[in-house]
């Protein structure tokens, strides 16, 4: 171990110190496939004498006959060879040990075992196990402390990630995404000119990246690793490194996959059929007192749903289908002495489980690196992508498929007598919505074009001292197109409407760094980083609409007759300007220390409070390298890490209700959006707060890493505490001031928890490898300072409580005698009432924050076969059915349909125990109060996330076809789910904040793939 470290140091200083030795031995070091390995350290065992292989993998070193040479290289097993009498000693290095992996950290790289911070690497292999549109999905279950939630199961939809809980109330909780050094535009909110993305759920700017281009993903969790990102590090940082070429002959890789998908969750609600709906309709009309008898009510029914056109439509069935995915990837990589390359092209086509819902992506990447001279290297990573997405509406809006599926009357047919989509119910039933027609005839599309480029030059000023200048840009253009026809549905009153909105985001960054690495007295290893960075992000939007479309086939804006209400347009920008430094030090690979410092200035804050300083200190102790541990043979490596530091969160959100731009919340402004009678006008827009600043976060991390039993078992246990303070809040004002609130830094919050990750090779021999893994996160959240409680929907944010604890009316079920709904009058739950006005909201110990979550993996490989399985789970949280109060409204919304669950479990006879109260139209009893425990369900689940079976064709077989490798694989995702709550009728995974909102259910997918290497 120690030797390994020492050898590595020698590599770092690239110093060759030769002492007088007997004779010279030389050789070539290659990898398993014979490609030369430059940079391998070659040392004489027991000495500090050594050298490094050159670009062709050659070395020579002076030795004595009795010497033993030690060969060390990152990512390979160390090898020892006795020199004997040989003068040529070639070595093929093999195997990779996890231990000496070099991983990318902010503005540099470090060996895994030198880390003082909490960092998790997710490899490309892990990404391949979950074939999806975006790499984020594949992170689920693969890193402790990370919650990954795909709230929407539609193709190309958004994914939320929480690193170690929720640290902010109003500012973003999403981590910072950095691709090859550039913090990229990652939030759907940054490009949401229309409601295409359903508040960020249904669209994802990161879906532009082809997951197959990613070499690995590094998640930075604690201050030691994130403080270098200063005012943007508080939510954790996700570093994405793309693939690069390696010296050697061209390797061509072709990969193709296709898959099928269907809803993963088996207990989704079912809609009524016509007979059931008719029964409910007639019963409900009589129960409401509108008619004396069902026969009289039948007359109105027959007039609204004429017998000759009456349907028996299963709207859910009509709107859904088996999804299909196909993907083709071709890449070539390789390199010569001075130039390495990785070039790829990819096409993805995904058809969703909802009719006409799809995602297409074309992307290409060219990563080049050229060595101009011994000292100067220039590289450029260029990624182009174009995607086309057809989405749906969610929530409780009238076009939302998973809302209308239950509310639409099954008596409404899909088509009318002319073969058109039926719209004759426009005057009395939900605006004449025809969700099938909407999906087929209307438009809801997004085109996204994205160019990301990272250009850098690094120059080695002298041994160990390197200057690097990196210039990156991310150009993003998003165009949404929405069309609603003029005959039925949302466009019916205006002869059809069309909306087109374009958002352009220009993001550039320049980063200048100096790094210096040295080893003093062969014991003190020092890495110093100094840097300066500037970034500017500009966004412009134009959003315009037209109404009045005369021909049903013509849906473009240009055909519309009447320009619509408002053309929205905006331009905004923000900039960051930063100085940063980091010093990493270690003593003999035993004691580690790191200090980082960043000074950030941001245009998002007022001139008086623009600059802030962020910092961290970290220490590590490799206990296993101490002499007293040498006798403990089953431990290979045992390391204790502690870090503490301060980071920030500068993600001030836009206030969409008041139209305030998050970039200028500090300023007192007049806005110019209003107009009246053709004249432009101005209104006071923001109250302004010149002292507005970022949220700060103190972050403590204590971790213990363990490798043992010849590296067959490894594990990490970490304790963390995140103390967020100066939380950005809308501090309520008296509305008589003309403003509802001032945005201010008030409020503190704490997240603390324990993460455990363990992996063990239970069986490991030449043919058979069986590995089990488990990772587990316990997390608690508490608001530690908040002057006034804030009611936010079903939650109330209150000091001393979990941020996500529900504050709701207590549902006490149905009175068997009367069929009335009952509420508990208060938290004592001792009395019930059928009048909601006599009840109050209270905390019932139900929170959307899980007690714990994690995953369990089991992977096995036997010869050329490999099997990977992963179970994910989450326990102790509650989820809220947001549309429940409408879909299960006890007749409140005349005469909308409902689900079979409600129909079959409604109260009909005195004395009957039932789940649902009696049903009557126009029910205003408010038993369907949305903020009540009636619509809360236990969110506990276990899901078989992945089963992947792969087979590598034998080399003997494929070499005849001049192929390098062929792998065929099949992957099943989400094929089994257990939930605790039998009454849960939506997918438990689809809430990040505990709120389910009629999104597309998550899919189970079966994917078949072939991967051919030439």
């Amino acid at each position: 171990m120690k030797k390994q470290l020492l050898s590595f140091l020698i590599l770092l200083i690239t110093a060759t110190v030769l002492y007088g030795q007997g004779r010279t031995v030389s050789g070539t070091i290659t990898d398993e496939e014979g490609a030369p390995l430059p940079g391998v350290t070659v040392t004489i065992k027991g000495t500090t004498t050594g050298t490094v292989t050159d670009i062709d993998g050659n070395y020579n070193i002076s030795v004595n006959d009795g010497d033993i040479l030690v060969f060390n290289f990152v990512g390979f097993d160390s090898q020892e060879m006795a020199v004997g009498s040989r003068s040529v000693l070639d070595v093929a290095m093999s195997g990779a040990t996890e231990l000496s992996e070099v991983i990318i950290v902010g503005y540099g790289s470090q060996r895994q075992e030198d880390l003082t911070g909490a960092i998790k690497v997710v490899s490309a292999e892990k990404l391949a196990e979950v074939p999806t549109t975006s790499f984020q999905d594949a992170l689920q279950g693969n890193a402790p402390g990370i919650q990954v939630v795909a709230r929407d199961g539609a193709p190309g939809a958004g994914i939320n990630i929480r690193v170690r809980g929720i640290g902010s109330i109003n500012a973003s909780n999403e981590p910072l995404y950095v691709i090859d050094g550039l913090p990229i535009t990652s939030s759907a909110a940054d490009v949401d000119a229309t409601d295409f993305d359903n508040g960020g759920r249904s669209a994802n700017p990161l879906s532009a990246l082809n997951p197959n281009d990613i070499e690995n993903i590094v998640i930075l969790k604690d201050a030691a690793s994130t403080a270098i990102y200063g005012s943007r590090g508080a939510n954790g940082v996700i570093l994405i490194t793309t693939k690069t070429g390696k010296k050697g002959p061209a390797k061509i890789n072709f990969q193709s996959s296709f898959g099928f998908s269907d809803f993963a969750f088996n207990n989704l609600l079912e809609p009524l059929n016509e007979a059931q709906y008719r029964q409910l309709y007639l019963e409900g009309k009589v129960a409401a007192g509108d008619f004396a008898t069902q026969a009289e009510a039948q007359v109105l029914y027959d007039s609204q749903f004429p017998i000759e056109t009456r349907g028996d439509t299963d709207w859910l069935d009509e709107m859904t289908q088996t999804g299909k995915t196909q993907q083709y990837d071709l890449s070539v990589s390789g390199g010569s002495d001075n130039l390495t390359y990785y070039i790829s092209g990819s096409y993805l086509n995904q058809e969703g489980t909802v009719v006409n819902n799809k995602f297409d992506r074309y992307s290409s990447r060219i990563n080049l690196s050229g060595r101009v001279s011994d000292k100067l290297t220039i590289s450029n990573n260029l990624n182009l992508s174009f995607s086309n997405q057809r989405g749906i509406t969610d929530g409780t809006r009238w076009q939302a498929p998973f809302y209308l599926a239950y509310l639409m009357s099954p008596a409404v047919p899909v088509f009318d007598e002319l073969g058109r989509y039926y719209g004759d119910h426009a005057s009395f039933f939900m605006g004449g919505n025809n969700p099938v027609g909407h999906l087929n005839e209307d438009k809801r599309e997004r085109e996204q074009t994205r160019i990301i480029d990272n250009l850098s030059a690094s120059y080695e000023i002298m041994d160990g001292l390197t200057f690097k200048s990196a210039w990156s840009f991310d150009l993003l253009q998003v165009t949404d197109y929405l069309f609603a026809n003029g005959r039925y549905g949302d466009g019916r009153n205006v002869g059809g409407s069309a909306q087109e909105a374009t958002t352009g985001v220009t993001n550039w960054q320049g980063t200048q760094t100096l790094t210096y690495s040295t080893t003093l007295s062969n014991q003190h290893n020092l890495d110093v980083l100094l840097g300066y960075e500037a970034q500017e992000v500009k966004t412009r939007q134009v959003d315009t609409g037209y109404e009045g479309f005369s021909h049903p086939e013509l849906k473009l804006l240009s055909v519309g007759a009447n320009p619509q209400a408002e053309t929205f347009r905006s331009r905004t920008a923000y900039a960051f300007n930063s100085y940063f430094s980091r010093v990493n030090y270690d003593f003999e690979g035993k004691y580690f220390g790191s200090v980082s410092l960043r000074r950030d200035g941001s245009s998002r804050f007022g001139p008086d409070s623009r600059w802030g300083t962020f910092w961290s200190v970290g220490g590590g102790w490799t206990i296993s390298n101490e002499n007293f541990m040498q006798g403990v043979s089953f431990i290979d490596n045992l390391k204790l890490r502690v870090s503490y530091g301060v980071t920030g969160n500068a993600n001030i959100p836009n206030n969409t209700t008041t139209n305030e731009d998050g970039n200028f919340r500090w300023a007192e402004l007049w806005g110019f959006t209003p107009d009246y009678d053709g004249e432009p006008g101005a209104i006071p827009l923001t109250v302004g707060n010149s002292s507005l600043t970022w949220e700060t976060q103190e972050n403590l991390n204590v971790g213990l890493d363990f490798y043992g039993f010849n590296n067959r078992v490894n594990g990490t246990v970490e304790y963390f505490k995140r103390i967020s303070s100066d939380l950005l809040l809308e501090d309520p004002l008296s509305s008589t001031t003309g403003f509802p609130a001032v945005f201010d830094n008030v409020g503190d919050m704490e997240n603390s928890g324990v993460e455990i990750g363990i992996s063990a090779d239970v069986i490991s021999n030449n043919d058979f490898l069986l590995t089990v893994g488990w990772n587990q996160t316990f997390i608690t959240n508490e608001i530690t300072k908040l002057d006034e409680p804030i009611v936010d929907g079903s939650f109330r944010r209150e000091e001393g409580r979990d941020f996500q604890e529900f504050y709701v009316y207590g549902w006490a079920g149905v009175d068997p005698a009367t069929g009335d709904g009952l509420f508990y009058t208060d938290e004592t739950k001792s009395e019930t009432t059928n009048d909601k006005n006599e009840a109050i909201r209270f905390y019932d110990g139900k929170s959307a924050t899980p007690d714990h979550f994690g995953s369990f993996t089991l992977s096995a490989s036997y010869k050329a076969f490999s099997l990977t399985t992963q179970f994910n789970y989450q326990f102790g949280n509650y989820v809220r059915d947001a549309p429940g109060w409408v879909i299960h409204g006890d007749g409140r919304f005349t005469p909308r349909s409902t689900s079979t669950w409600a129909f079959e479990n409604r109260w009909t006879t005195p004395g009957q125990e039932s789940i649902f109260p009696r049903h009557f139209w126009g029910n205003r009893q408010e038993w369907n109060e949305r903020h009540s425990t009636r619509y809360l369900f236990e969110g506990d689940y276990i899901r078989l996330r992945t089963v992947r079976l792969a087979y590598d064709l034998p080399t003997s077989f494929i070499s005849k076809a001049k192929l390098r490798s062929v792998q065929i694989s099949t992957t099943f995702n989400n094929f089994w789910t257990w939930v605790k709550d039998d009454n849960l009728h939506f997918d438990p995974e689809q809430t990040i904040n505990g709120i389910y909102n009629t999104v597309t259910p998550i899919s189970k997918t079966a994917t078949f793939a072939i991967n051919i290497g030439f």
Partner: protein, 481 residues
Amino acid sequence: MKHLIKNILAGCLFLIISSCGEDFLDIQPQDSISNSQFLQTLDDFEAAIVGGYSQMSLADWYGRYFLLIPDIMGEDIKANASANRGAAWALFLGAPTTTQNENREFWQEIYQAINLTNSIINSDFTPIASQQAALNQVVGEAYAIRALAHFDLVRLFAQTYSFTADASHIGVPIVTEFDVDSRPTRNTVAEVYAQVIADFQQAITLMTIGGSNTTFTREAAQALLARVYLYMGDYNNAETLATDVINSGNYTLVDSANYADQFLVGDSPEAILEIAMTATDNRGSDHIGGMYKETGYGDYLPAQDLFNLLDSLTDVRGTLFLRDSNLDGGIYAGVDGFGRRVNKWPSAGSAIATDNVSVIRLSEVHLIRAEARMRKGTPDEAGALADLNLIRERSAPSVTFGALAGTALLDEIMLERRRELFAEGHRIFDIARTGSDLIRTDCPAPGSCTRTYPEDRFILAIPQVELDSNPNMVQNASYGS
């Protein structure tokens, strides 16, 4: 080692030189202007006052709810079974549910307008002499909007003026200056009315330039002030101001043939102040018309009580309805057995929501004067009848109306207000200010059929957000703490 230090220093120097400097971070918004740079020219003031009208045109004020809520709380409009918006008030359910926040919207939008007008009124900008009259007009309009804003708030959130003898009961906070930290108490109703009168009078003095009927003019302020006096029971002043408006000669009643068009087309000779709803600034599906029509939300229906007042064969106002065959049968039958819908705000198709909405029109000024003449110390019955006849004969030219006197005449004037002004946002205010009971014969839900004056729920609840953020705020009776 020396070499090393030199290199590091050189590198540091480079980092510093390549810095962008402080102005790199000085990014100003491109679609808004900071307070300190605004209201510096006459143009700025003109833009600001347009913002004030835009505020009035919002769906939560004159765009929709202010013309809806007072009517649905009366007997002439009833909630459809599916009614959602405003139903808490229409059915006197008490505190609104979390989805129904019309009271909050009124409160916030109207106080926003007050803040805007305060910025204009309190500005110390001095124009060049030739612009003084134009600036005065703008400032006068700001006073008028502020007056109307306080008047509308006090009508919505406080009991009517005569609720106590000296109007000393709680009103709404008067705000004439911006103070971010203010947590005001409620002024008395008398204080609010005094402020409203002072502001309207200031407006009348300052506004010297005539305008269109979609912005405030001297006469619009006078007409509204007449209404204020009527609510206060100051009938002499109400009559005087109504007479000033009528005698200005700027307005004439439209004839029967064009009656309906004054709502659809707008800009009629009768309009004194109306809110413009052009193709670009209308409220779309949130327009007042959409609340009544089957093609909109269709939440509210005309009640039998209203049909009983209007003869569709002789009275042009009886034709402002549309048949809706889906309202056939059951208890929804209209006068002829068919369901009807209010069609006073009829714009449809690609011109949806483009009908201007009335704030005040000449016929109301006549009815104000008629009522004032009857109620004043020495009633002027002949004058009152003349005003009444102008209105009812215009709408029903074929009918010969007999003479009326005394209480019968006053009652008829009050009934005429219902006929003439339904769906324009007056009814519950008229019920309350005349101390009447609400009696619905066509009642949408039990519990809302009869409400006896004084009635706590003739006014709205103070919004919860205000109570939460302002410890000095007091909730209205019967709406909880």
